[in-house]
């Protein structure tokens, strides 16, 4: 590090962004109203699967205040929404990619599919006009169930008559089968990873404006990655010149994956804004969020783990059916493959692994990345089967894990990844201490006195973050690069504005990134401003997802800072009449090595912009540097979680009493923010385990379509978490040594919770509990075990 005095990195610096959020001064998309503002409303399909025979919009077009009514026929020349990742089936054939129209053309494929866009002077007028549209539907049978979709007589799309998008595999099947055949013990489990609805608290919204003055568009949108949004929209869907479209993602109220994707609504709004000639705003009602935000998870899996007589893992064999929903969302295809099956080694040195994934289309909302994205599904099955094997073999579950931990790094897994570093023993040891596992027996006895069953469950997770090395991603089917970009603009007074291609929607980048910049340049944190989320300001960016912002985006900033310092040294050398190589930079000062001759950072900045005494023959004026950073590997955060529950056998009610988390995120820039990220992830993971489950009925109607039907975790549903970030193993291949922390909690916690419930109920003969472990599910499992 250039700065010898690390004043900010590693400290719980309070967040720069908080004042505006706490005072109501945040600017979220729906807060922005433009002159001549008009409003869009989408008429949506009430049917899961239907042919559109005819649409009569005449009455709506003539309704008061209406500026335009657009159906699939009107947008017929426009392309479909693209999928960013090509997965090939085992037979080499490319995945099936049905057109994903921005407004349905001849049929609708899920409840909530958009059928018409109505634009009017007020939202009330747009809604009233929508009620006048007559759609003649021919209702078709709906394909809903993930497990049986491939056997359904109805095809969601004619190009995939068996509803199979792809059948993909990874690992050595023959070696895995052979190893499984030789195993002394094989543990088997079938499980479902329940479908979730992301529910960021800010509903999706957009506001699109066309300017005839310069033939350009501006789109305000709730996006995690505005540059990608713009690229996909202009180049692949609307055929607009990329440089004439400015996409701004202002303050965004949570994403969790659901705001990564290019959605139909904002695309249709941009398209219509030129026709209407006024800016159009659309904000999802919560019921629309439930119906149309990309959902998460939804896997049906069988898993087998083969062990030798000493409890060493020999082979892991997995078959998963993954629901894609009605259309391929932007990253849908890579979630249950590249981000899932590659993580199946977990923390263990299992020599043979084979996983096959069948992705299916159904008449449900599209499914894509949701916090963790593939990695929670992998961790869930692995940590469930490991704990079940321990139970069957009567080996302590922590001990069984220890026997199989990877201990030498780098470690190449049988499923394509190379872990650079880690210390799984350390995080497990610390988790067991935090959880006070030694006191469990006494607590169990105390619970029993109250008539309650206490159980303890473990989970040791690993995740691949810092997405992603572009060459590896490309070889695996990615249709884009996955680097990050940054610009460091030093102003003449030495103040600094940093433009990052990452996007913050709760993660606190304005603070963490400022800490890095302030330390590296040796300047006050107040002198640093972080800008993000605007294609008109930021040079480029791939956005925020996959816990990549600091590892990839932060490194891009460091690279740009290094260039600033390198140029500063040349300027300082000139002013100090020394050789470039004799200048060192630390604590905000350029010094001639071994002397007291020095120049402050701000003096160098001023000189760069007022170059009266300057090596103009060798050096350009100004101090403004760009950098792109493409990582050489993923990062591998890992940790151990321990959960303790109390179950009331009379009602099936589960209470999480204790939850201990021990994580290795490598180096930590802001421990307060990191801990907050873990808390949030745990809440979503515990929510998945106990409360949340998306339910469609057999006709494809969303049963859990509101907050009164879909159980979001509330303050009194969650325990007080005991979270600790261990002094970890620094990532070996980025200069900050950071790994990423945004998804860990959601990845590691569901199996810990379910393992704890199974442990509590094991004396009753219960072997498995499905998520969410609602009182109803738990009570049913107890009754079934009695029979």
């Amino acid at each position: 590090m250039n700065a010898s005095r690390a004043a900010f990195i590693g400290r719980p610096v309070e967040r720069k962004e908080d004042y505006r959020f706490l005072t109501g001064a945040g600017q979220y998309t729906d807060d922005i109203s433009l002159p001549q503002q008009s409003y869009g409303y989408f008429l949506r399909s009430p049917h899961a699967h239907a042919r559109i025979r005819a649409i009569d919009t005449a009455a709506a077009r003539g309704a008061p205040g209406v500026l335009g009514v657009y159906t699939g026929k009107d947008v017929g020349g426009v392309g479909g929404l693209p999928c960013g990742w090509l997965i090939k089936s085992l037979d080499g054939s490319p995945m099936k990619e049905p057109k994903h129209p921005i407004i349905a053309d001849d049929k609708v494929c899920h409840v909530g599919d958009q059928v018409a866009l109505i634009v009017a002077g007020t939202l009330a007028e747009a809604k009233a006009a929508a009620a006048l549209i007559d759609v003649d539907y021919e209702v078709l049978p709906a394909v809903i169930d993930t497990a049986t979709a491939a056997k359904h007589k109805t095809a969601v799309h004619s190009i995939a008559p068996d509803n199979v998008c792809y059948t993909w595999g990874i690992g050595d099947k023959a070696a895995t089968d052979a190893a499984m055949g030789k195993a002394a013990h094989v543990t088997r489990l079938s499980l479902v990873n329940n479908r979730l609805i992301p529910n960021a608290m800010e509903p999706r919204a957009s506001n699109a404006q066309y300017s005839r003055a310069d033939d350009s568009y501006t789109l305000y949108v709730t996006s995690q990655n505005p540059h990608v949004e713009r690229l996909l929209m202009t180049a692949f869907v609307l055929g607009l010149p990329e440089h004439k479209v400015r996409v701004i993602a202002p303050d965004v109220g949570g994403g969790f994956g659901s705001k990564i994707y290019l959605y139909a609504e904002e695309t249709a709004l941009v398209w219509a804004s030129k026709r209407v000639g006024r800016p159009i705003k659309w904000t999802a009602e919560r019921s629309e969020s439930f119906l149309t935000d990309a959902h998460g998870r939804d896997h049906v899996t069988t898993v087998e783990l083969g062990l030798d007589k000493d409890g060493k893992f020999l082979a892991l064999r997995v078959h998963t059916t993954a629901n894609m929903g009605a259309y391929l969302s932007t990253f849908a295809s890579c979630i249950p493959t590249i981000l899932y099956a590659t993580l199946l080694a977990g923390q263990y040195a299992t020599p043979s692994i084979y996983c096959e994934v069948q992705a299916v289309f159904t008449n449900t909302a599209p499914v894509d990345a949701y916090r963790g994205a593939g990695r929670p599904e992998a961790t869930y099955l692995l940590e469930r089967i490991v704990e079940l094997a321990a139970r069957e073999l009567k080996i302590d579950p922590a001990e069984l894990r220890r026997r199989n931990f990877i201990r030498k790094f780098p470690y190449a897994t049988p499923v394509g990844l190379t872990y650079d570093t880690g210390d799984y023993e350390a995080t497990l040891k610390r988790a067991l201490e935090i959880a006070d596992v030694g006191g469990f027996a006494a607590r169990k006895a105390a619970s029993a006195k109250k008539g309650l069953l206490r159980g303890i469950g473990y989970s040791c997770y690993i995740e691949a973050c810092g997405i992603a090395p572009s060459n590896i991603a490309g070889a695996l089917g990615a249709r884009a690069g996955l680097y990050e970009a940054a610009e460091v603009r030093v102003h003449p007074t030495g103040k600094v504005t940093v433009f990052t291609g990452s996007h913050s929607h709760g993660q606190g980048h304005e603070t963490s990134f400022s800490q890095v910049v302030a330390d590296r340049l040796g300047i006050p944190i107040e002198d640093v401003d972080i800008q993000h989320g605007d294609t008109g300001k930021v040079l480029f960016g791939m956005g925020t997802y996959g816990s990549r912002s600091l590892a990839v985006g932060g490194t891009a900033i460091v690279k740009a800072l290094d260039k600033v310092v390198a140029k500063g040294k040349k300027i300082a050398a000139h002013l100090l009449e020394a050789s470039d190589t004799d200048i060192e930079f630390s604590d905000g000062e350029f010094r001639v090595v071994g002397t007291d001759r020095k120049k402050a950072f701000a003096e160098i900045a001023l000189t760069a912009y007022v170059p009266h005494n300057y090596p103009l023959d060798k050096l350009e004026p100004g101090l403004n540097e760009n950098a792109f950073y493409d990582p050489v590997n993923f990062t591998f955060p890992a940790g151990s979680y321990v959960c303790e529950v109390e179950v009331d056998p009379a009602t099936g009610a589960v209470r999480v009493d204790r939850f201990a988390a021990s994580d290795d995120f490598g180096n930590v820039v802001n421990p307060m923010i990191v801990e907050g990220q873990v808390h949030g992830g745990l809440a979503q993971g515990i929510g998945q385990a106990l409360l949340e489950g998306c339910v469609y009925n057999e006709d494809g109607q969303l049963v859990t379509g509101s907050f009164t039907d879909y159980a979001m975790p509330r303050a009194d549903d969650l325990p007080h978490f005991q979270v600790e970030t261990v002094k970890g193993t620094a990532c070996t291949h980025n200069p900050l040594g950071v790994k990423g922390c945004g998804e860990a909690g959601a990845i590691g916690s569901p199996p810990a919770v379910i393992n704890a419930i199974v442990d509590a109920l094991a004396p009753l003969g219960v072997r498995d509990i499905s998520m969410p472990a609602t009182p109803y599910h738990v009570w049913q499992a107890i009754q079934a075990a009695k029979r």
Binding site: G24, M201, Q507, M672, G676, G680, L682, A715, D716
Partner: protein, 157 residues
């Protein structure tokens, strides 16, 4: 058809012509441009729209503006000191990292102030129960609970 609304918002008298079906949240956001009050759902579930009506926390998305005729409304903007400082509850949320994306935050702060005004010595369990009407998807609530307890202490001083 419209009605004449007369009420006090953040200490200032306000008079406006609105249609009778205007929600209080819409009135605050669209008519007065007080966009700190957020809309997170349409079922009075999430609490992002919480404001004070006559000093009590109310979900403004489920109240007609007409229903608060003549009453005193306080929004997040109204509890914020004009000098650039923070209300003790806002300050507690900041120092405890009780917010991430900030979307639920104004409603959460308004609920918290009402909660501790009526239960100044609320325990952790009571705070958790008292915040039952406000969703946060980012924080897992732990730091919010901590902030509310700290804010209660600071408000009591």
């Amino acid at each position: 058809m419209s009605l004449t609304l007369q009420l006090k918002v953040n200490g200032k008298s306000v008079s406006a012509e609105v249609s009778p079906d205007t929600l209080l949240s819409t009135f605050l956001r669209e008519h007065l441009r007080l966009t700190g009050t957020h809309i997170g759902c349409d079922t009075a579930s999430c609490g992002a729209c919480t404001v004070h009506v006559g000093g009590r926390a109310v979900k403004s998305c489920n109240v007609l503006a007409a229903q608060v005729q003549g009453l005193e409304i306080t929004t997040i903007e109204g509890i914020t000191p004009a000098d650039g400082s923070l209300h003790p509850m806002q300050a507690a949320f900041k120092s405890c990292h009780g917010l991430q994306c900030g979307f639920c935050t104004p409603g959460m702060v308004m609920s918290a102030i009402d909660l501790v005004t009526h239960q100044p010595h609320a325990t952790e369990d009571e705070i958790r129960a008292g915040l039952e009407g406000n969703f946060c998807r980012c924080t897992g609530y732990q730091n919010i609970v901590k902030a509310v307890a700290q804010g209660a202490k600071a408000m009591g001083r």
